[in-house]
């Protein structure tokens, strides 16, 4: 098999993967958690603004408990990530299938709550019942949430499509009929959850989320939290986008729940009063690293491309497209440059477009590993936050500096490739001008 054939096969599989119902639902559903986690981030950011002396200043102004209400908000958003995921993913799956999405989502939530422990052990050793343990409805329960959502959706849609359920006679209001129609799939979903709860309890005396956490989620989190894991994430999304497919959307859609869980692990360490710098338990690769530090100006760190073009391009085509792409680029939107220049399927840009994000993630990884940059916790910024500002909000001046470093790196790496492409365009333009002149001035041909 030739190289290009191999590449085509790879792309075909990625596209097929991205079109799988469950993957689409996972991607679209998890995005629904975004408004909450971003708003929660804003409150958390005020509570832990990344400049020295901030906490002390605020305490002196508003008393020692000034941050407690802010943590209330961030807790109510991040710490229910698994609940939000169950609702979002089930909703999106059933909506796309044309089924009663909201009913299905509520049933899936009930199934999820059935599966988690209904009690917590207090410090004194006393078992307290009648609670929903926060530990399992936040980041730790995310993978279980995804599994429960997908299985519940499948059962629900199967029943609805095969008309398994109680049918009401004509004339019964639709709302009432709908509620009855959901009884049978609801019973199946919760029965499955109940049986699963018993099985887990009998076999391992643990709950399903606890088992999934140990057997699946922790290994997945540890895999992503390595330099190689980071490089693969950075590389694959760029290769996909180079082939004209929205890479971050596909890769992020699948990886974000895990990367988010990494960030929430760090937040849990902070909440427990531990420091993240030099802490071997802290995760280095989090969603902030793959979202912000390797995407300055958009996937492929194309802000560096634009700056290189401003510095060295002479052809009208290169100049006009980089001018058009600059303002959106500041907000990390780079479709104009990807499709307009184009970078897509352009052999000259494969190396920098994939290489720059990989170098950027290596740089960021080591900046965190050596303790220069603090590992990221729950605070996030919207993906459209301009570079350097985003770095500052996430990591203080160190964050801004590292992000600036990634951009300088991208300018340097893109520059020679921009020059090569520019020379080709210059030549083409010169040729076109000559042809035009020859056409309008036939005397000149003699």
């Amino acid at each position: 098999m030739g190289k290009s054939e191999l590449f085509n096969k790879f792309m075909e599989y990625m596209v097929r993967f991205a079109s799988i119902k469950s993957v689409v639902a996972l991607k679209d559903g998890f995005i629904l958690t975004l408004p909450l986690t971003l708003v929660g981030s804003a409150f958390l950011l005020v509570a832990c603004f990344p400049i020295a002396g901030w906490g002390a200043l605020m305490s002196s102004l508003f008393g020692p408990d000034w941050a407690a209400p802010l943590f209330q908000v961030s807790g109510a958003t991040f710490n229910i990530l698994a609940i939000l995921s169950v609702l979002g993913i089930t909703y999106k799956y059933c909506e796309a299938e044309g089924c009663d999405a909201i009913t299905a989502a509520l049933l899936a939530l009930a199934a999820f709550l059935t599966l988690i422990k209904g009690s917590v052990v207090a410090k004194s050793g006393e078992v307290v019942g009648g609670v929903i343990p926060g530990q399992w409805v936040g980041g730790n329960g995310v993978i279980t949430a995804i599994i429960v959502a997908l299985v519940s959706s499948w059962i629900f849609c199967y029943c609805e499509k095969h008309k398994i359920g109680l049918k009401m006679p004509e004339g019964v209001p639709t709302g009432v009929a709908k509620a009855f129609a959901a009884l049978v799939p609801g019973f199946f979903i919760l029965l499955a959850a109940c049986v699963l709860y018993i099985l887990c309890n009998v076999i391992t005396s643990k709950t399903l989320p606890e088992m999934v956490f140990v057997l699946l989620q922790t290994p997945l989190q540890n895999l992503t939290d390595t330099l190689v894991g980071g490089i693969i994430i950075a590389g694959v999304q760029s290769i996909l986008f180079w082939a004209g497919i929205h890479g971050p959307n596909i890769v992020g859609g699948v990886m974000n729940p895990i990367l988010m869980a990494n960030a929430l692990d760090n937040q849990a360490l902070l909440d427990a009063g531990q420091s993240l710098v030099g802490n071997p338990q802290a995760k280095i690769i989090t969603q902030q690293v793959t979202d912000v530090f390797i995407k300055g100006g958009g996937c492929g760190l194309t802000l560096g491309f634009l700056i290189a073009a401003f510095l060295g391009a002479k052809s009208a085509q290169m100049k006009s497209i980089s001018r058009l792409a600059f303002v959106p680029g500041l907000f990390n939107i780079n479709e104009p440059i990807i499709f307009g220049l184009p970078i897509v399927f352009n052999p000259y840009f494969l190396i920098p477009f994939v290489g720059v994000p990989v170098l950027a993630i290596i740089l960021t990884y080591f900046a965190i590993a050596v303790g220069f940059l603090t590992p990221f916790a729950a605070v996030q910024v919207p993906w459209t936050t301009p570079p350097v500002i985003a770095g500052f909000l996430l990591g203080g001046w160190q964050g801004a500096l590292v992000q600036l470093g990634t951009i300088v790196l991208s300018v340097v790496c893109y520059f020679p490739f921009v020059r090569i492409q520019d020379k080709i365009y210059c030549k083409e333009e010169k040729q076109a001008a000559q042809d035009e002149q020859a056409a309008t001035d036939p005397v000149g041909q003699n």
Partner: protein, 100 residues
């Protein structure tokens, strides 16, 4: 009045193109409604559209979106036109599909 809907990953970059298309439509005094959404909103926002155009970065989901929108013509926008934000070109493409 024709309704043209553009879809992309999050509706960001297509919204830039929508503006250019609206300008082109106005210049040609062609009355139409043009809007951009994220592909996940296809069923709720684009079911009554006369044509649905996809950003080239999500052209792989053409099959799935056509399935979700029975009777609505769905096609992907040419990459170069998309990148250069060629509003007039994309509008002409949309009108060609609608046979307008």
């Amino acid at each position: 009045m024709k309704k043209i809907i553009l879809l992309c990953a999050s509706g960001m970059s297509t919204s830039m193109l929508v503006k250019k298309m609206q300008e082109a439509a106005e210049a040609a005094s062609y009355e139409c409604e043009i809007a951009a959404f994220s592909a996940s909103e296809a069923t709720t926002k684009a079911a009554d559209a006369d044509v649905v155009l996809l950003g080239p970065q999500i052209r792989f989901s053409k099959g799935k979106i056509s399935e979700q929108l029975p009777g609505v013509p769905v096609d992907a926008i040419d990459m170069r036109m998309y990148g250069c934000m060629d509003g007039a070109g994309v509008l002409a493409f949309a009108r060609k599909i609608m046979k307008d």
